[in-house]
Point group: C2
Chain length 355, copies 2
DNA sequence: GTGAAAGCGCTAACAG
DNA sequence: CTGTTAGCGCTTTCAC
């Protein structure tokens, strides 16, 4: 019925060489005469041969399986653009480098979340794990993963993760600083900040940057109202509504990601607040969400796809042995403030009226 | 350094049986005494043994690798919530059933898109492919995939795909009909429709449903302005802006998905049109986008996560041999109109003014 | 019920 | 430069 798929031996027979030679050609090994290489390649093409990844892996070539670990909930809404962008970037790089990628969403609230990650790694024989926050800062987890012979690349580690594995991300503190500067220049003086889940250190750094900008301007960083969200649209919407109901509300609401900013925007609409007339709102990430809402969100661009790709490359390097040892390196990618209509000039009238 | 991972032989030795018996226990085979089974299971737990999927696959157990094929562009924006939802649903089911899932975005405009799909299947030794539109309606592709011994499940096949493979989806024609009825009841009489890419037959059926509703109401279905988008926010925005600039614009704009509806909404805001005061806009899918925008989008709910899961189950059944032969079955899942603020009562004043 | 033996397709020493 | 020889860890006949 279904024709048997050609094996490496078929190719060897067809091109009149030994199996080993074919393997060498296939894996770019040295010591193969050009004419032999061509002959083998011709057979490969003629027979439409593909290496069997399972056999290769079993024989010692490694599984070439990587996993992207995302903190979210399998039961919750489909993952945000943030996760999609990382995944797409990683997927693209995997395709180019001949890796397979598994994506695993781990509920961050589950007590056995570490075990879930380790289980995935073991079961799938992963050779590398890409950890996003807050896993990226779980030094214990990273240690255990590595102990079991698997490489780690972190996305946006904030603190301990930075010194426990190779990582990639932007300068989050500077990102927070820059967006704050943007708002300060627009005349804003009363700020609120919606942060992310606990343990997401890089998001905390965004707040640090905001505070530094305020301090620089002679304002009191302690005056910033800080509330904790969980990066979802809903949390942004709920928390913002609560903020708006308080006396002396902020004129600038800085959110730790775009989804929460979109939620805040929605809450503002619901309350009849004009954005940016009455209130400016900013996001973080520059995902498509920021252009989908009205008015479009001012935000900080993060090169998420590049980050996903870089993480794969980090693991590929480690696997290839190009770099060894515990000299973990953090790659800083550029960020940029994207000025859009949701952040506008602070209205002195409104500011006074509610003061 | 890294402890060697236990193999099936370690388990066999530990529990004092032959390797074959362990295999039987692991795969739920018959002919194992309960006490032996328990002993083996105890060893498995004690040694923290995991089967090596690569070895299993090589030995004939099958790769247990499935792939989700999505028509989009690797270079384009991160995939929409539509893709994420399908993926999440499929991923969850794969996890439960012990499959691995690869997601592959294939640029639909590339001339070798069929080859790309086949290449993925061959290279990864996939046992099943989940095809989304327009691949779901490519009977030639489906035929070729199956010829190579791989199973197929289609998501929302519209025409030929329906009779070429097992599929799952909603009744798209009815979905279009229902959302049209909703708008008709709100008093709308002048409709426009933003359709999706060519070949996406299930989206075409949504238009068929819209027309049926109009006909039923004694209106001329040919009077509907139909423009073709590509399911992206941007295309919705551009096409809507063009529609608004024409004389006698519609009072109800029905879009083939949420992203395009969000784009249309953005274009309406840009032109200063009030939604739903001047114009009602509806989406399709009920992805999170529909709640993120303002006003929230009236739309047709599609159980995307369930669809992704069902597709995996279809393949699992075929693989298990529970169902055989070419009696392809299409599973219809329920849809529902979700009434939200973007669809409101038609304004007779505006309608007259622009007539 | 259980076990022994034979590969699955490939890579990796080690010889030549 | 190329070939020979062992396995990798598992499933699967086929005996017992």
């Amino acid at each position: 019925m279904t024709a048997r798929k050609p094996t490496i031996d078929d190719v060897a027979r067809d091109s009149g060489v030994a199996r080993t030679t074919v393997s060498r050609v296939l894996n770019g090994g040295p010591n193969v005469r050009p004419e032999v290489r061509d002959r083998v390649l011709a057979s490969v093409a003629a027979l439409n041969y593909r290496v069997n990844p399972q056999a290769r892996s079993l024989a010692g070539g490694g599984s070439r399986m990587l996993a992207l670990v995302l903190a979210s909930d399998l039961e919750a809404e489909p993952n945000s653009f943030y996760a999609s962008a990382l995944e797409l970037g990683a997927l693209r790089e995997c395709l180019a480098l001949g890796f397979q990628l598994m994506t695993r969403h781990v509920p961050q609230q589950s007590p056995d979340r570490r075990e879930q990650v380790l289980e995935l790694m073991t079961t799938q024989r992963c050779q590398g794990l890409i950890l996003t926050p807050p896993f990226a800062d779980d030094a214990t987890l990273i240690e255990e993963i590595r102990r079991q012979g698997c490489h780690v690349a972190t996305i946006s580690p904030g603190g301990p993760g930075r010194s426990a594995a190779d990582g990639v991300g932007i300068d989050d503190e500077a990102g927070g600083y820059d967006i704050a500067r943007h708002l300060l220049e627009l005349g804003h003086r009363r700020f609120a900040f919606i942060s992310g889940i606990e343990g997401h250190l890089s998001a905390e750094q965004r707040l640090d940057g905001l505070k530094r900008a305020l301090r620089e301007r002679g304002l009191d960083p302690a005056a910033v109202t800080v509330v904790r969200g969980d990066f979802t649209f809903r949390s942004g919407s709920v928390l913002a509504a609560r903020l708006f109901a308080q006396p002396n509300p902020p004129t600038a609401l800085v959110c730790a990601n775009d989804d929460m900013a979109a939620g805040a925007l929605s809450a503002a609409h619901g309350r009849g607040l004009d954005v940016p007339g009455h209130l400016s709102i900013t996001g973080f990430d520059d995902t498509p969400v920021s252009e989908i809402v009205w008015p479009p969100l001012a935000t900080v661009h993060q090169p998420l796809k590049d980050m996903g790709g870089a993480a794969v490359r980090i693991i590929a390097e480690r696997l290839a042995g190009t770099r060894r040892g515990a000299d973990w390196r953090f790659t800083v990618l550029p960020h940029a403030v994207v000025a859009r209509a949701s952040a506008g000039r602070a209205a002195p009238i409104f500011a006074t009226a509610s003061a």
